[in-house]
Amino acid sequence: MTTFLGMPATAPRGVGHLRGDESFPAAAHKALADDQLRRNLRHATTTIRGKSGRVIAELPDWQELRSAGSAIKADVMSRLPELLEELEARVTERGGVVHWAADANEANAIVVDLVRRTGSERVIKVKSMATQEIALNEALEAAGIQPVETDLAELIVQLGNDKPSHILVPAIHRNRSEIREIFLAAMPGVDPDLTDDPPVLAAAARKYLRETFLSTKVAISGANFGIAETGTLAVVESEGNGRMCLTLPETLITVMGIEKIVPTWQDLEVFLQLLPRASTGERMNPYTTMWTGVTPGDGPQNFHLVLLDNGRSAVLADPAGRSALHCIRCSACLNVCPVYERTGGHAYGSVYPGPIGAILSPQLTGIEDNASLPFASSLCGACFDACPVKIDIPAILVHLRNQAPHPRSERAAMRAAAYTMDRPKLYASAQRAAKLARIAGRRGRGLPLGGWTDARDLPEFPQQTFRDWWASR
């Protein structure tokens, strides 16, 4: 296989944020009991959905754009090794240094070493899913280096000792009075008279961040895209804090998942249309920062690119699941997902929540480590229709369910059902016998229905099945 990059290894255990401590139903239980959280989530996702729907409707060629995005990504996946080598060659030519990291441990070690060599004890960070995935902040702290998140929402999450709950709006689960409390408790030099007025909160964060930007010599970023033909990296964001991180420090270290590559500048055009409209409902994202290696006298003078695998080769090796790597992290699938809307992101136990998380995390870690996630969906299909790069998430969910370990009792019941349903006579008598289940009553006493009958009555069994009716006609 041309796309095979070596032994496809899954993300290592014990490091990173790809595995939860509990199964999805158990984690969801808490979120479902939190009415405030559900109101916050419904309000936020409904607003984003509406905005996104309106600006998508403006484009006459949205479906063609989606197809183009999907086709470009499929092409990238089919020749990833050569594109990565091309990227490496161009970055190196332009004065950057490229590092290859097989997994989270290697990536963290590379970055910690690079920061140590600068002598800096603090780094500023641009919002980055890849560094969240590998738990880079924790690794830096363990090495005595202080990471400061500069995305406003990421900063809220960091100061609150919390975890992000959304790809794009990491603090979606917090409201402004909670944010005020977090700032008062943890933001250095904060005004003790802080109110919960959003502009006041933003100003407090800005003051703190400006001081940090101007006094920190090392920045760490992710990348939304890497352009193979020129070795250019791109970060899109909406606050401008990212641009300061990417331009002010002396040293810039970028950690990029190997799937983030696009072959040419022309390909980028497609994604720069798809991403903002699908994600935040903007026509164009406010800040797009691009850089190519090092430019003497302008911007960071040392540039390192860490190319991260951490399970991606394993995903790539599965033709039925591979398209999960097409994801551009727009979070449109989260915003339309009825399950995400009720449970929030923490229930998924991974930095990748919602529908994309339900397929990507199990693929990166191996299905056994995230066995409940492919089942955390009603297969309603809203995510597939929303995805700007047309990832058939329901199909991959079904594919992963087929690989997931099954409870023994369920396996036995499914076998028995299939056996019976493949024998029409036996099936017909089982239908009649099922009427006996009426004694279980509408609350289903004694039937293996889990919590089904906590909220719903069972239907009454009819006096006659259809096939008996037909036979008696």
Binding site: V339, A376, S378, G381, A404, H406, W452
Partner: protein
Amino acid sequence: MRIALFATCLADTLFPEAAKATVRLLERLGHEVVFPFEQTCCGQMHVNTGYQRDALPLIRRYVSVFSPFDVIVAPSGSCVGSIRHQHSLVAAKAGDAGLASRAADLGARTYELSELLIDVLKVEDVGAYYPHRVTYHPTCHSLRMTRVGDKPLRLLRNVRGLELLELPAAEQCCGFGGTFSIKNAETSAAMLADKMTNIVSTGAEVCSAGDASCLMHIGGGLRRRDSGVKTVHLAEILAAT
């Protein structure tokens, strides 16, 4: 026209009225309905719960039972979606290319009821009379897997006496999802609660849909709430006179 009926295991066993109504409706429109007795289940529950190998004999059964027919109808957008999209996929994954191509072929001749009526039989007014206030839940699989679009609504708009009430957030999932409602019962119940609130807010007497499975779930919830709203399959409304 001679039309084979795939009753679906759920309608056959628990909601025979939906299948009976399909027969009555098609016969009233002058067509011959055939019910092959060897049919059982499309295997969707097995595929969607992660038991593709166990689904394979059911897929084989569907293909062999219905291959002799030119047109097949099922009163379920969900089962039709599964037949159309999952049968050939599962067969291909099992390495049975012959079955996969026969399944794909058959999938193209298997219709959901509203598709059969409008696309094949070319009727939008089936001559039904149903004097009730009705709201319609489009069901995810009818909408996004089978893509029946607004066909059920077009049929309902032509039913005499029927007042069609718009359902808020109609396209959001009711939370059934087959075994999802067992494995994630609490999340499913939260989704159902919102769906029920929207249904009750319309002031409808009846909530209709083209899938017995979603109606079982929604109906079970509405009954538990003592809401007074009944659930009725689309076929039963279209068959009413």
